[in-house]
Symmetry: C2
Subunit: 194 residues, 2 copies
DNA sequence: AGCATCATCTTGACAATGTCCAGATGAAGC
DNA sequence: GCTTCATCTGGACATTGTCAAGATGATGCT
């Protein structure tokens, strides 16, 4: 649904385009979303997005970056140092899934390196690594002096990462329900960190 | 690289197209693979694939179905009833990742429900559910009479599924190395089933 | 104020793509 | 030998991503 616009300049086209893109990706899939349709929904000409994002990969990368930013906020809000590490990881995983469910359009392009080159977008890279560090930090809290094999903990962190990513992917792809994914991520977290 | 062909009829075009598609997806990504380029690599006209697969979604669905078939073979070969359930699950996960590493083109389209409609392709659905059942069977082996809460085991099975899927996805997306992913899936399997 | 500058957005163009259609080819069955 | 039909070709069309040139108006300078 094209948006009526009185002035020649849009005002906040970048945000409008990102929103249109998120909606389109969410209910049509990445494959079916076109730059021209995104522009159409924002009520601008077909070439307008190019000025803000360069090309299609740029738009999707910006969407992914915004997704990582939203995820970061959700992870920070969910983190709780007062509970045992296992419970903390479970809450982080739950927040991860909740964010994915709330922003399916964003999650559909995050961690899809075939759509764009992450190295070319510093902000995306910054938010993504920040989130990775947040996960590592929680897993690291389960380390004890007598058991701190570096490799074992790296494997645990990777397992937690892969689990959250995989369940979110299955959730966004409508292969699982939210309840299913959340039970699974909680069961996994509880067993990964004792 | 187009293939020279003497006769008008190709002979085994369906297989040739699937192979070209797998190669193309593997090193260019799904987004960058076109039906016309697949046809070009197989040395046929641009409209030839339509006769075998209907449309682009049909070709990708067929590729996914073949991937699930290959995965099924790998899982069956890796399953071992003589080892404890946890070790059996670890081997299944390792086989999952090995198959993903060997057939990156296939795995890039499997579990991507936005590319095609799984319900419209019975063979794909059949192979996919068969693999799911194989996973469930191994997890179910860890059930004991005194501990068999149905919900808990469903959560465990979903966790194992999500972990394998997520790590395979990160592996194919070159976000992780094979060694990283395998260590992670093993660590996860060992802790999920005690 | 008037003017220049420049980011922003539009318009038009081009090659490439997915999909449809009529037709050419040749293998298989009678 | 003839028919039938699956297989593949070639052309067409709408749509897409991208580029180049121009229109618009907000901003800052004098």
């Amino acid at each position: 649904m094209p948006v009526r616009r009185t002035s020649y300049h849009h005002g906040d086209l970048r945000r409008a385009l990102l929103q249109s893109a998120a909606e389109l990706v969410a209910d049509q899939g990445v494959q079916a979303t076109s730059l021209r349709e995104v522009a159409r929904r924002a009520g601008v000409s077909h070439a307008a997005p190019a000025h803000h994002f360069g090309d299609k990969a740029g738009l999707l990368a910006a969407l992914a970056a915004e997704g990582h930013r939203l995820l970061g906020e959700a992870l920070v809000a969910a983190d709780d140092h007062t509970v045992p590490p296992a419970e903390a990881l479970a809450r982080l995983g739950s927040a991860y899934l909740g964010c994915a469910a709330r922003h399916p359009g964003h999650f559909a392009v995050m961690a899809r390196c075939d759509l764009f080159d992450p190295e070319a977008h510093p902000e995306l890279l910054r938010h993504a690594t920040a989130n990775h560090v947040r996960l590592l930090a929680v897993v690291a809290r389960a380390r004890t002096p007598e058991r701190d094999d570096v490799h074992a903990f790296a494997a645990l962190a990777d397992a937690a990462w892969g689990t959250a990513h995989g369940l979110a992917s299955l959730l966004v792809g409508r292969v699982m329900t939210f309840e299913q994914a959340e039970s699974a991520v909680r069961a996994s977290a509880m067993r990964l960190l004792r």
